[in-house]
Point group: C2
């Protein structure tokens, strides 16, 4: 162990370079040679420091995601402490969960923005080991927030809420992906760079999310009694 206080700078350079490149090209299309070239390291350094490309990806997500979810839980802790036995207002829970993420996505220098764009996209990533890893990493924080939401929204059926939460995640994902995709919508006519004004993006997204969360409950089509089995049409 050469230097304990500044653990192998190569490791960090590789992680940072990988983060940038994964956002730009995707997990599969980014090669270890691209990464090590950008990190100014040798190709063998990846397997030396991480063991494999897969392990590198996991470590890359872990170092940011752990922090992100800790922040989320801490924010929820504060809210629940303030509220005492009363339920926390839904809007505040939404802000605790998504606000931390949007704030992280606003960090252009520290790489938080890159990571959030990567994370958003990865939520629907097909690769099996990524899905499993994310599910595990999210389990605790999701359980806590779901519980808080259920308590805060007693009039909303739980299944309905879970869907709305899912939709909210989608909206946030696209909000963070930002200019990548929205230029398709905006046709370049308007200035669509959320890095230019993260506070505005935050305000916009929150309005939208709260609006969707608090929307009138849908009239669901004729409830098929419990187990329809839906044989023939």
């Amino acid at each position: 162990m050469a230097n304990v206080t500044e653990i192998s700078d190569t490791r960090t350079r590789i992680l940072d370079a990988a983060e940038r490149l994964f956002v730009e090209h995707g997990l599969e299309a980014t090669t270890l040679r691209m990464i090590t070239a950008e990190a100014q390291a040798n190709i063998a350094a990846v397997n030396y420091h991480f063991g494999s490309k897969e392990a590198l990806i996991e470590e890359l997500f872990r170092r940011r995601l752990t922090w992100l979810n800790e922040q989320r839980l801490a924010a929820l802790d504060r809210l629940e402490a303030e509220a005492g036995d009363a339920p926390v207002k839904p809007r505040l829970i939404v802000e605790a969960f998504f606000g931390v993420a949007i704030r992280m996505a606003a960090d252009t220098e520290g790489g938080g923005r890159n990571f959030m764009r990567l994370l958003s996209r990865t939520y629907t990533e097909p690769a099996e080991f990524v899905k499993n890893f994310l599910a595990e990493e999210y389990a605790l924080v999701l359980a806590r927030f779901k519980k808080a939401f259920f308590k805060a929204l007693p009039d909303v059926p739980q299944e309905e809420f879970l869907w709305r939460f899912h939709f909210m995640l989608g909206a946030m994902s696209y909000a963070v992906s930002g200019a990548d995709a929205i230029n398709v919508v905006g046709e370049g006519k308007l200035e669509f760079d959320n890095a230019g004004d993260p506070d505005a993006l935050y305000a916009r997204l929150m309005s939208f999310l709260i609006g969707g969360l608090r929307a009138p409950l849908p009239e669901l089509p004729a409830k098929q009694s419990k187990k329809p089995h839906r044989k023939a049409a």
Copy 2:
């Protein structure tokens, strides 16, 4: 040309197989050998019928996306014809744009479901040629719908609306991705298979989208007068 009425079944089998596999593994991770194996065709058939993997992907998107967008435009045409000079109600425009997509996503037999899941994910796809292709394919339909929305929502600033439209696309994307990602949220506790009840999903998503679209406008942070250049903090 062997048979004009039933153009080379191999072509179609390859497209269908590719669609299934692309959803499951992603564009990059799906190899031509996997595709031709599933399609019961020879590996060379892809390059014979399409020219390249890239061309196969474009053709795969084109055959469904063209139809989808035609349906969207037709639906909008009907709405505008009914409304005459008056603006069409926002909720109806939303239903025209997203309803067609959700309905397509409900088609489990014809492959529409697979395609919509693929399309949703691909909207944030990093691959350059995919982005360009999608932007081109979407240009017309987006222009029409944006115009209709602007007319229907004169009180909403256009930039605000474009963001909300962007958020709506994200919500729909996740709605269609369905069980893939939502099991992370649902933890398998609830039954989360939108294929089981597409009508319910449609109703849920519409409520959410309309709620978000019609949400109170956000209070944007201190408007930096036009061109802030934002040098130092």
